[in-house]
């Protein structure tokens, strides 16, 4: 139920006076309500749950997962 999937905002549009985004998930594009992520724009990755963006992925925090491994001398192939 709390399943939420990250996707990339490719266009911002309006529906019934609300801010929506066209969001791309592995080739499929869906319209997603951006009212709860008003700062999200094109190129941002948002986490989508039942048609709503509930978070914008923090790229710096995401990168930290991998730099931590590199600092510990782990294989570079892990680099996404």
């Amino acid at each position: 139920m709390c399943l939420a999937v990250p996707g990339e905002v490719v266009e911002v549009i309006e529906r019934h006076g609300m801010r929506f985004g066209r969001v791309q998930f592995a080739g499929v594009v869906r319209e997603v309500c951006l009212e709860y992520e008003p700062a999200a724009g094109c190129g941002d990755f948002v986490l989508v749950h039942v048609g709503f963006a509930i978070a914008t992925i923090d790229r710096e925090e995401a990168a930290r997962t991998w730099t931590l491994l590199r600092e510990l001398g782990q294989p570079e192939e892990v680099d996404p």
Binding site: M1, C2, L3, M18, L47, I54, I57, D58, E61, P75
Partner: protein, 368 residues
Amino acid sequence: MNYLDEYRDAKACAIRLGWIREAVTRPHVIMEVCGGQTHAILRYGLDRMLPRELELVHGPGCPVCVTALETIDRAHAIAATPGVLFASFGDMLRVPGSRTDLLASRARGADVRVVYSPLDALELARANPDRRVVFFAIGFETTAPANAMALIQARRGRVDNFSMLASHVLVPPAIASILQSPDNRVEAFLGPGHVCAITGIGAYESLAARFHVPIAITGFEPVDLLDGVLAVVRQLERGTATVENVYRRTVSADGNRAACAALAEVFDVTARSWRGIGAIPRSGYRINEAYRAHDAERVFDVGEIVTREPEACVSGLVLRGVKKPSDCPAFGNRCTPQTPLGATMVSAEGACAAYYQHGRRPRDGEPA
């Protein structure tokens, strides 16, 4: 980079498993709160890769499983009302009520539609002004803001034929209830990452301090789950009990303020009865007075609801982490996803369905 596949990387998982093995010196029981986490753990076989000392038990984070029987029976009664178009997430359709399920109601002529989003249900109401459209709004804090927005839009756009049967549940009171239970075995929690994306982590800091229990706010991919296990194992070994956020790319300490504002606009906190668990004070949301015209519970008088659990089933003990699905004598024989005795076998997030789907079935009389 799509913020998904890289968190399924086998090497990154292997490195973390090594760190976990180094950290563990004695047995620990850890509960993952969310049904989505349970499914990922079983799907990727993480439970079988972890050191034997670590036992993962599966939490109550399956909204379909914990929705009260009374609410499900009410949904069936409303769906059977002439002129009603009843919209629901697909998961709810096969959940057994006292007498029937929504799929069987549909077969008998009720107009039951599956929607992906509450805004789709609102669209149905706009497109069918002569029908009364009711959306079955269940879910945790993750889902509640979406349902709140549908109500805000219905009121703003005067979509008077739209209402909602709301039965939202809240995670922190359920964790407190598990920890207060005399048969509790859980020593640490993998906290619900997507719930916390909405609410922030404050309530979990209070739980960690009050019950001296480590909590790692955790995501849903294998790397995320192992990060969560590593964080709580290190704490259990050290004897500390704090909240660690290992899902920082998604969860901020304060959560999503716009979503929380919408929740406050539409809902009041209320006591809820959790199926299989019982009543928990201040553990849910109900639609507030200002939105009463869109509250299906008040709009539809369906008379007194007399509930009857279809058959004794251990789902309550499974939902509290006291029993594993494979401990149940009905599991995998009398109770399967095709013939479910309880909601934990129906929902895509239920622990029993996860065990069944991912091959944790008893074979030849052996325990799973």
